[in-house]
């Protein structure tokens, strides 16, 4: 996606031509007919105006269709950009995920996706919407603080490096082992609240003082995938390495796994999301256009957003 130029928001759409042209045109035609001609001519003019109306209706309908297509495109671009931003942030710090998760959920909601505070279309009060935008702003500030705190502290960040690997596994296999070439000693297992399958804890036993720990658990969404979370950096050579830096060896093996397995999962998620996009846009369009309070809500949302932007700067 090309992110180099901003989207042009001047749509050049004739959004309400009816008010300007038709009320002025129709009465003139009627007056002309009643004063100068008989019944037959009057019918002709009526037909003419009806055909003009039909043409106009077709034109507006096609315009409507174009806008909906543009909406779908913008939604797709927005989602891709948002996803890209999330990926960048999750690479910078794993702790951001805790903040980012609720934000990701809100983006699934079409109304909130558009920047509307919660409950605007359902007729909630202005106070609740301002609270929501304030809450959103707080989350955003908290996230920025985390980012700004994390950036300079590179050493501690490396020490607590966390990476996740997704490995397909047989659902009948209950051993929770991920073969990555290292030797691991299992030191615990527990059942977590969010997942029916247990989580196993391993410590690297390749070298006595290696601080790396590994957690392995089946994915809650897809039990055929094992999720292995590595914490720390190996202080020894990799299993297949004859010479070289221990840290870079450990790092590179993890990254390779991440790209292979994580990439596949990411592709599946992207496909699912793309199929959802059109449905979401349709729902969004229909629900908003049927809402008589839409204009007022939109004005409130824009005002709120402008105020939020001003307060940020």
């Amino acid at each position: 996606m090309d992110c180099s130029s901003p989207l042009d928001i001047s749509l050049n759409l004739n959004t309400n031509p009816f008010d300007r042209s038709f009320p002025a045109k129709l009465p003139k035609e009627e007056i002309k007919v009643s004063t100068s001609a008989g019944v037959e001519r009057k019918w002709l003019v009526k037909d003419k105006s009806a055909s003009e109306l039909r043409e106009e209706l077709n034109r507006v309908n096609s315009e409507n269709k174009k806008i909906k297509e543009m909406l779908a495109t913008v939604y797709e671009n927005y989602y891709a950009l948002h996803h890209h931003l999330e990926k960048l942030q999750s690479r910078k710090s794993p702790e951001i995920d805790h903040i980012e998760q609720p934000m990701k959920k809100t983006k699934q909601d079409p109304e909130e996706f558009l920047g509307f505070p919660n409950g605007l279309s359902s007729g909630k009060t202005e106070n609740s919407s301002s609270n929501q935008s304030h809450h959103y702003q707080q989350q955003h500030e908290q996230k920025n603080q985390l980012l700004s705190c994390k950036r300079p502290v590179t050493d501690s960040f490396n020490k607590a490096r966390v990476s996740t690997v997704y490995v397909p596994a047989d659902s009948s296999d209950t051993s929770l082992t991920v073969k990555d070439g290292y030797q691991w000693r299992k030191y615990g297992q527990k059942v977590t609240r969010d997942n029916p399958s247990p989580r196993a804890y391993f410590r690297c036993s390749f070298a006595p003082s290696c601080p790396v720990k590994k957690k392995v658990q089946r994915s809650a969404e897809d039990p055929s995938i094992l999720v292995a979370t590595y914490e720390g950096t190996h202080n020894h050579l990799g299993p297949n390495a004859s010479a070289g830096d221990a840290t870079s060896q450990a790092g590179s093996s993890t990254v390779t796994l991440d790209m292979v397995h994580g990439g596949q999962k990411l592709g599946l998620e992207t496909n699912e999301r793309r199929t959802m996009q059109e449905v979401l846009v349709q729902q969004m369009a229909s629900s908003l256009t049927n809402d008589s309070n839409f204009t007022a809500a939109l004005a409130t949302a824009i005002t709120g957003r402008l105020l939020m932007e001003q307060s940020r700067t």
Partner: protein, 39 residues
């Protein structure tokens, strides 16, 4: 009656068009805000 029905339909579609355009404008604004954040 056909003309008045057409007029009503045209009004409805125009209103829908207007709302969709406003929605699109807002989405573009949001997109640009996000893009600025990324840069």
């Amino acid at each position: 009656s056909t003309t008045s029905a057409l007029v009503e339909e045209l009004k409805r579609v125009n209103a829908e068009n207007k709302k969709l355009s406003e929605m699109l404008t807002l989405m573009c604004e949001n997109y640009n805000v996000l893009r600025k954040q990324l840069m």
